[in-house]
Symmetry: C2
Subunit: 172 residues, 2 copies
């Protein structure tokens, strides 16, 4: 490999980091709910715990399975509802911002995207510096890297204005 002046650093998050992070988040959860006016229910605690102890990025169904060990009567609807609530409260994030419907792209060249977090509009983007990371079989842990798609979360002009006026209950 030729030496690079700006060889970027990519690093998988360690198990220790995750463990410390999880403790901190769980310890503060009740306080933060109070601040935000959210009721602290056993379901919410269990779901956040399940989320934080999952190394992967679970679907509602997977969380449901996990949580039923502690809360056998919980319903799947509650899991969906709660995950959304946690996201809105900033206690969790959705990996898949654009998942309501599949979105297609006629551009088959390698490129990236800017996504408006409010209206979900997407624009193509060129960012050649990112592509250098994926020369011939770069690896990371057990993964062989193929290419990358940078998704830049942004607000478009229209949504910036709209968000400024009606910050409250607008659909996302």
């Amino acid at each position: 490999m030729p030496p690079r002046t700006h060889e970027p650093r990519l690093q998988l998050l360690s198990e220790q980091w995750r463990e410390r992070y999880r403790s901190r988040r769980m310890a503060d959860f009740v306080t933060r709910c109070r601040e935000k006016g959210l009721a602290v229910t056993p379901q919410r605690v269990a779901i956040l715990k399940a989320l934080l102890t999952s190394g992967d990025h679970p679907s509602a169904e997977e969380i449901y399975t996990k949580v039923r060990a502690e809360q056998p009567m919980i319903s799947l609807a509650t899991v969906h509802r709660t995950l959304e609530t946690l996201c809105e409260a900033g206690e969790a994030g959705k990996v898949t911002l654009l998942h309501d419907a599949a979105r297609y792209d006629g551009n088959t060249d390698s490129h990236h995207h800017v996504v408006c977090i409010r209206c979900h509009r997407v624009c193509d983007l060129e960012a050649p510096q990112f592509d250098r990371l994926f020369k011939d079989g770069a690896t990371l842990g057990e993964f062989v890297l193929l290419d990358c798609s940078v998704e830049i979360r942004a607000l478009c002009k229209r949504c910036r204005k709209a968000a400024a006026t009606s910050m409250h209950h607008r659909d996302s």
Copy 2:
């Protein structure tokens, strides 16, 4: 507009680029279909055209609406089918690799993801150099950038093995 001290090398694809790209792709479409043994139907041509003339990244529903101007009798099922077919043939791409079900993440710090393109497993990743691009209200065209999520497409160890044995030959 905003005083930029340093604009990173991020660039929206220009309309001219898109126009040239579209002409080239449409001109070659028939040839490439023949090479791949795909029938060239008016529906497929119309759908590819709709895809390439969409600056955004349309859903099946949006393509459906657009295509009906030329093909009023086309069905939504055909649009779904054709978009999938075009993706398999390498004539289009899906922006949303993980869209079958919403995936959640308990880690609310800014971070990135490695996604196995085969089993859709996701791992968290740290790459601080990317975050430098999103300091205090960086903009790109009409977008105010918030943060970015780099999605690295990869193959995990298990899937690499599985892919090596169970796949005959894969053309890129």
